[in-house]
Amino acid sequence: MADRKLGFAMLAGMLATFYGAFIYAPTEASMGTVQRIFYIHMPAGVISYFAFMVVGFSSIMFLYNRKLKWDRLAYCSAEIGILFIATNISMGMLWAKPVWGIWWTWDARLTLQLLLALIFISYLMLGAYVTDPMKRASLQAAFGILGAADVPINYMAIRWWRTQHPSPVIAGGEGSGLDPDMQLVLFGAILSLLLLYTYLLRRRLAVERSSQQVEYFEQVVLSQ
């Protein structure tokens, strides 16, 4: 029931984001319509950071108390985080082509973003190669903490190194900022994507729990 309510809230949020990005938000003066991609690009990046921080926190909790529920949470959050970071990178590329004239450049933020995605893809792949659950969970926890430690560096990259990526519009110091209507749409989109993340995480965790239940029952059947 809670999942259904969350699902409806998430769907309403997504429709509101669509409306906000295409109709409510004013057109940006210098870039024009292409700037509207920002309302998915940036929130997807924010949620991917959040998802990877959840991985880091859950990994620390697993190493602290060795309970596999933390490993499950970390694994599921990493998988969904990859979906969000892939959205962030691909939407950024779609924006870059008309604005910069190129799809990709090895700028500090872009490179670090790609590195972060690769770290968590490796994190998931690691799970497929180690069969012992505790050993796998410990290795993944170490990797997850390493990946989460990369998040603050990515966040600060556009503040520390002024390369091609635009400077931050939120919390970017003097001269930064957004039109109030654009800001409203942006924060609404972040909230909608957070709902989407929560919904997907709950569903993914349920699948993971059922999967472990099946493994357990299969072992019981085999032992009889």
């Binding site: 699948v207 059922s210 029952f217």
Partner: protein
């Protein structure tokens, strides 16, 4: 504007497909759990449950 709508729609479609994939997997796992429970109850009256971690 058209390609922008297409990009947004692609985003929604990808996440929608991911949700559908999870629903199908969940259904499959639930069916498998029922099957295994039935097999176990045929050999044993007790209903074994996995240990909670």
């Amino acid at each position: 504007m058209t390609w922008l709508v297409a990009a947004y729609s692609a985003f929604f479609v990808i996440f929608f497909l991911y949700t559908i994939r999870m629903s199908l997997k969940q259904k499959d796992l639930d069916r498998r759990i029922d099957e295994l429970r039935t097999r176990l109850s045929e050999t044993d009256d007790s209903d074994p449950r996995p240990e909670q971690d």
